[in-house]
């Protein structure tokens, strides 16, 4: 990012301010509860890895002026597909199954949105329910263990150069997604499509193709998130990803991605996602009950989103 924005807008930096504010708050109030311990901070990153990957996909989809509500269900179905496959086949087949299912469901969303011109909100709301059901029937609500040590190491508890594999996954996914988003024609065409589809169209950008690709990409991200969940938890269950919908959308919006397209940030989504993870972690350490956590988290997200989206010029 060598280019300075032409006008300074506090809303572009809200996620960083929020991140620092929440960090400082917990660092002080939870100092005696080990919030600042390396182990706890690493844990936050590890726990948010799947949500961060999902957030990347959502940044692309929102930037193109569409939305995906189904990524949580895709995550569950992908994790289950990988786990079931690995009961009888070696790891590469499981990985291919997980990612393949994610991409296929994403492509299915994309097909309906791009060429049948159905609103992505309704399409993905429907597939959210549809594949939540599929995830439940796939294994009769049972949890499927994932025992392959190569898989659980690669996608879960393993390390490389002393750094946990989930941190590597987060780092490389964010780095690659950021470069594609900011530095390639594909990224520019995503933003143009979300900003002004007609302008994109008359400029020769294949708008339906972009819509199809971002939704497919988002499905692929959700598939990868499913593999990371399965690797870390050493099991797959229909509930994986179910509770991530609100957190991921909040992370992405707070991270500076516009709900109606044309503007976004992959790095912002990462910081937003870490912020949400920190919030979960801090609220648990504070000893809040699950219901209280939901209330506090909901309120904080509401404030953060309101501040991010409020248009000061109107």
């Amino acid at each position: 990012m060598t280019l300075l924005p032409s006008t300074f807008d506090i809303r572009n930096y809200i996620v960083y301010l929020g991140f620092v504010a929440i960090f400082l708050f917990f660092a002080i109030t939870l100092f005696d509860y080990g919030f600042l311990s390396t182990r706890n901070l690493t844990n936050i990153v590890l726990q948010t890895a799947p949500a961060t990957i999902m957030a990347i996909g959502l940044v692309y989809v929102l930037s193109a002026g569409e939305i995906d509500l189904s990524f949580g269900s895709i995550t569950a179905v992908s994790a289950l597909a990988a786990a079931v496959t690995m009961q009888s086949y070696p790891m590469p087949f499981g990985v291919a199954a997980g990612l393949g299912v994610g991409l296929a469901i994403g492509a299915f969303n994309g097909l309906l949105v791009a060429w049948l011109r159905l609103p992505s909100f309704l399409v993905t709301l429907a597939t959210l329910g549809l594949f939540a059901g599929v995830a439940r029937t796939m294994t009769d609500l049972r949890s499927i263990p994932v025992v392959d040590p190569a898989f659980t190491g690669f996608f879960g508890s393993g390390q490389l150069f002393g750094v946990p594999s989930l941190v590597w996954w987060t780092f490389f996914s964010i780095a690659i997604a950021h470069v594609i988003y900011r530095q390639t024609r594909f990224g520019a065409h995503i933003l143009a499509t979300g900003d002004n589809p007609r302008a994109a169209q008359v400029s020769g950008i294949k708008v339906p193709r972009i819509r199809f690709l971002v939704l497919t990409f988002c499905g692929g991200c959700a598939g990868l998130a499913g593999l990371l969940y399965a690797g870390r938890l050493q099991a797959a269950k229909y509930t994986l990803g179910e509770s991530d919908l609100m957190t991921v959308i909040a992370a992405v919006i707070v991270g500076g991605t516009a709900l109606n397209g044309g503007k976004g940030s992959v790095i912002g989504a990462l910081v937003g996602s870490l912020m949400m993870g920190m919030l979960n972690n801090g609220l648990i350490l504070m000893g809040l009950s699950v219901s209280d956590q939901m209330i506090v988290r909901g309120l904080i997200i509401l404030v953060a989103v309101a501040v991010s989206l409020r248009d000061v010029t109107r």
Binding site: L3, L4, P5, S6, T7, V179, R182, Q183, T184, R185, G187, A188, H189, L191, A192, D195, N196, R198, A199, A200, Q201, V202, S203, G204, I205, A258, G262, K263
Partner: protein, 249 residues
């Protein structure tokens, strides 16, 4: 000068019908390099249909479109752009939240290196020299479109067309949304296109503007080509009569 040069665009007996509805009866017109021709007529006269045929959005039902003597058929708007025909749309077709330079290269971004990464530096530099050349005053090539005035935006839309057009620019109501001062600025800009040896076809509802800018005026009424006049040899009354049909040509 216009007599000796070969026409850039030549429309011969263009006819267009949508189903049973005739939009253009027959239309013929030659456009020469460095010439500004105005297309006037009431709403529904067929001006937009004509623009859309020349820019590749619609295909004529019958008749020939020739660019520099070669018959062309465009599959879509990209085909026309590849042939050197650029359109400035009424609604500008700019991506509001993107910087000026990205709009200048929208759909035709420059890349560099084996990975095909965006060459932002070159795009910014080219944008800067282009807007300076055309005297479009914007804060910077990195300014976001939304922060610019209507006149600046239209200036960028025209600069973009100028940058990419090798033969012909179609302007569809270029000043419809602008104030007086901004209109004057954009008109100055349009006049400079003449010096660049581009052919310009402009659709405008403002007869004052048409008389300020054009070399020739072509009048359409209900899909009929009423006539073409040299701007220097006609006056508003004649053109108005042709538009409204109170006097036949």
């Amino acid at each position: 000068m216009t007599e000796i040069s070969e026409p850039v665009l030549s429309l011969q007996d263009i006819h267009k019908a949508f189903g049973g509805v005739v939009a253009i009866e027959t239309f013929s017109l030659d456009l020469h390099p460095g010439e500004i021709v105005a297309l006037v007529g009431d709403n529904g006269a067929g001006k937009s249909t004509l623009i859309k045929m020349i820019s590749g959005v619609h295909a004529p039902t019958s008749g020939d479109i020739q660019l520099e003597g070669n018959p062309v058929t465009f599959a879509d708007a990209s085909g026309a752009r590849a042939a050197g025909v650029e359109v400035v749309y009424q609604d500008l077709a700019l991506a509001d939240q993107q910087p000026v330079y990205m709009n200048m290269f929208l759909g035709r971004e420059l890349t560099k290196g084996p990975l095909g990464l965006l060459d932002k530096k070159s795009m910014i530099a080219e944008t800067r020299s282009l807007v300076e050349d055309l005297d479009v005053r914007i804060p910077s090539a990195q300014a976001i479109i939304r922060d610019l005035s209507g006149g600046q935006r239209q200036g960028i839309a025209i600069a973009r067309a100028t940058h990419w057009a090798s033969k012909l620019i179609l302007l569809d109501e270029p000043t419809a949304a602008l104030g007086v001062a901004e209109t004057a600025k954009v008109e100055e800009l349009i006049k400079t296109l003449r010096a660049r040896n581009l052919a310009v076809l402009i659709v405008s509802h403002s007869l004052d503007q048409v008389f300020r800018l054009s070399d020739r005026i072509c009048v359409l009424r209900r899909g009929q080509q009423i006539g073409v006049r040299r701007t220097s040899e006609t006056d508003k009354n004649e053109i108005i009569a042709m538009i409204t049909g109170l006097q036949s040509s």
